[in-house]
Amino acid sequence: MSSAGPQPTSTLAAYLAGLRATWTSVFSYVLFGTYIGIGALAHDFGFSILWAVLSTVLIWAGPAQVILISTLGAGASWIAVAVAVGLSGVRLLPMVVALLPTIKQPATNAWKLVIPAHFTAVSMWVEALRLLPTVPRENRIAYCNGLGCGYLVTATSATVTGFYLAAKLPPLMSAGLLFLTPLAFLMSTLRNSRMLVDFLSIGFGLVLGPLFAWWELGLDLMWSGIVGGTAAYMIHRFREALQ
């Protein structure tokens, strides 16, 4: 298949092009594996199948779901659970802020952006930033919704599969499924990196994230993002100024 991709002309065609792009994406496999793990986890902590599916559709963020299921299932207080989930979701804010200006037009109503914002998760964000340059601007919202729907359908069917497989999964396999998220996040972020600022951000985040968590700084992910991202950006600006 050509890598240039189709040039959709209607909203529906753009939506379908986005949907189709997920079928050949490595993320569909990664999401399938990850959400088998999440479905099995929900089963093991005694949640219902409907609850597990709703958590995938409504939350649509792997790490947040793992935290919600394991802390709520272990009997933590609701406040503590909400804070832990909220902290893990901080990354979504800059991701949405970086994505939306590339898909909207001057006249776009903010309400139309709530749906692509909901679909924004690492998988959709990384693939959207990679594929959007080939999509005409007026079709980009529909294209992103297609991407998001495709991934969500994959993840939802995997949640159901994992829920019913739970009792049959050997521990090593469950461990491997949980390991898919950090591996796929790392490789896909690296693949999308073009400029020095991208590689620096990855390097700083990898070091600062666990360091701040180990120091029990509180809001450690937010701080690793602000400190690491700002340092990377300043080095990038400094280097540009020199040239």
Binding site: L58, W78, S188
Partner: protein
Amino acid sequence: MSALWSELGPYLALILCGFLPNEVWRWLGVIFSRGLDEGSEILVWVRAVATAILAGVIAKLTIFAPGVLATVPTSVRLAAVACGFIAFVAIRRSVFAGVVAGEAALAIGALMFGN
């Protein structure tokens, strides 16, 4: 009453402790992105922050592993990420190759050094 609570309690928790604290960041993103256009210099910084947070998540999931993944020794998990990275670089920056190599290394390491 308590039967109803045990039915609906988990769903209320899903909305209040899962959906809302997570989704609020996406809504804030919609608000903060107003007025920004694709070429804005500030977006380079925003993307750097997003990437650094993501890298932080990756490192934390590897080092402070959740659930049954914690039963695999930390050194094995770190070595497996390194193997994945080497495969990714060696095989034309392929995400698939990196993930497969990392998973294979984790399985082999867990069987050799796990308990």
